[in-house]
Subunit: 350 residues, 2 copies
């Protein structure tokens, strides 16, 4: 696939240089992922242990266990979530024109998910599934230190298949971004394969987030093959070191050797971008109070992807990611609550 968009000094190859694209670029980022509504609840860490969940991770559970965990949780707040959906919501908040593909049911939470994404300005037309299963839910336990632990019941989200991937949408998107969580379901994997093929045929970029260290554990071999096809890779420290089974520096080298653009996040220590032989260290943006870290990685990806789609340089892209992550960890919920475009203007001077 082609070279990355950039206006920076670090590479002079324009984004559209090698395109053989017949269709118009209507979307800057297309996200494909598990469509989930988050149920946020603040709890002490004792409950996480008692329920057999892994603190800071995302555990996939079947319906009965999801209900059992929900019964133990305190009063909740429901907010639309889903990793890639959070990312495209962030891109829209920056002022971009994203699209999304993901599966909800024709039920109340499905209606909430669809409303919120469209109201944010994301094109979302995946057909709702029949109501044999409900819309997926992610129980998000927010600890006193703002760490989030997830217990996900995919519900109908796992019915996403290749038939849901509209090739016209993929062809019209500058970057197609998928979450690693999709690898848990064979039909979703076929959907991704189809999307990548269409993107490749149209010289579009493809991006992947590794999503979760346990997800990496489950799919290490496949991910190692897959990232050879990926232009833009997102991972946090736990994920990238798990993937290459080595220390952070070596893992970053491995990622940089395989992907044109690797963005590696390290929480409060900021992020590292490796692209075209260059290294960019990006500081995290400080916040008054870290309320809830849910969505930090998703929103970091939003800033980076929006920057790349606009042809901004790697450092600016990373800084946009840091701005978006800082906004989302300063409140409950994984979607931006203020227009990110306004925060970005201070950085890009537009």
């Amino acid at each position: 696939m082609g070279k990355l968009a950039t206006r920076s000094q670090y590479t002079t190859i324009p984004f559209e240089s090698d395109k053989v694209v017949a269709v118009e670029t209507r979307y800057d980022v297309l996200g494909i992922g598990n469509a989930l509504v988050d149920v946020l609840s603040r709890e002490d860490d004792g409950l996480i242990e008692e329920m057999g969940l892994e603190r800071g991770a995302a555990t996939m559970v079947e319906s009965a266990r999801a209900h059992a965990v929900y019964r133990r949780l305190g009063p909740g707040t429901e907010v639309s979530g889903g990793s890639a959906a959070n990312t495209v919501a962030g891109v829209a908040s920056f002022g971009g024109t994203p699209a999304y593909i993901g599966k909800v049911a024709a039920d109340q939470l499905g209606g909430v998910f669809r409303h919120d994404l469209r109201a944010q300005g994301v094109a979302f037309d995946t057909r709702a599934a029949d109501e044999t299963e409900p819309t997926g839910r992610c129980l998000v336990i927010v600890s006193p230190d703002a760490q989030r632990t997830m217990c996900t019941h995919l519900g109908v989200a796992q019915r996403l298949g290749p038939e849901d991937v509209d090739p016209d949408v993929v062809a019209a998107a500058r970057i197609t971004y998928v979450e690693g969580f999709l690898w848990d379901e064979p039909s979703a994997k076929r959907a991704i394969t189809r999307a990548f093929e269409v993107a490749s045929r149209n010289s579009r970029k493809v991006a992947l987030s590794l999503s979760d260290p346990f997800c990496v554990d489950r799919h290490r071999e496949e991910f190692l093959t897959l990232i050879e096809e990926v232009d833009i890779l997102f991972a946090n420290e736990a994920e990238i070191t798990s993937l290459f089974d080595t220390d952070f520096e070596s893992a970053a080298d491995e990622a940089a050797a395989r992907c044109e653009f690797a963005a590696l996040t390290r929480g409060a220590q900021g992020s590292l971008i490796r692209t075209n032989g260059s290294v960019f260290e990006i500081d995290a943006v400080g916040v008054d109070e870290v309320v809830d870290t849910t969505g930090a990685g998703d929103l970091y990806a939003a800033g980076v992807l929006w920057g790349l789609a606009r042809g901004l340089g790697p450092r600016t892209c990373g800084e946009l990611g840091a701005i978006a992550a800082a906004e989302v960890i300063s409140h409950l919920g994984a979607r931006p609550m203020v227009p990110l475009g306004e925060l970005a203007r201070q950085l890009t001077g537009d």
Copy 2:
């Protein structure tokens, strides 16, 4: 009905003095109201006008209009709401033992409402309605100045009827508290009549909130009759002046002449309690930032009712109300996010 609970210097009649109660007091407060899930969205005031809503008020709309308004709203946050339900959630957060009667459907939002109330510690056993209508929703538009404007689609909440009023629960509750919004539905009105009869037969207290100035407008004559039966009255300035069609001081006199205990709120100016010939002026509790005024009146009532049920004096009751209101306006959503009991201990010295 009997005299109010008190440990203050202002009256020496104990709460239980004239009771002829056969059953145990299991609940301190029973709330009866419209069971609603709030959909909170931050919007500019222009949208409120454009949608024909009354800023600061609660407008009842049918399903089609609710959908039309929802389509215009930005991304939302779903949190369990409903005026009396917020109040009993507050009583539970203080450490009380409340119960609730209200109607949800056997759908996702009904499940969310039931979970949240029970998880907070409220006894809630009203049978879910058949799914001919959905669980009620209240679209809450939060303006930049934190004022909230509501657009309510009652859905199945309006099917609450006398058959839902379990007389054992009413008889076991020290105070039965109802919201004025119920007067919009004839069957809910019959439910209230039944609850008041049972309470009266068991020498329990009954409390009423006037809910909304437009609600008062719609039911002025009935409310004027009703408050003669009410021991404890809650109203804000707009509601009480509307009810008696006079200025605040005169309206407060009218309320005090009819109810044993009248608690009248005035936003940032605090509240006024009139009881047994005495007047108590209670200051509002300051907050760093007023984020969302949704639930301020409901939580004020929670503090007062919890105090009354415990036999605390009028000033302490008012101060507990002020504490609870301050907590709920400092974040998005109408239910407490920190245990109110901890805040109360600083005041009551328990």
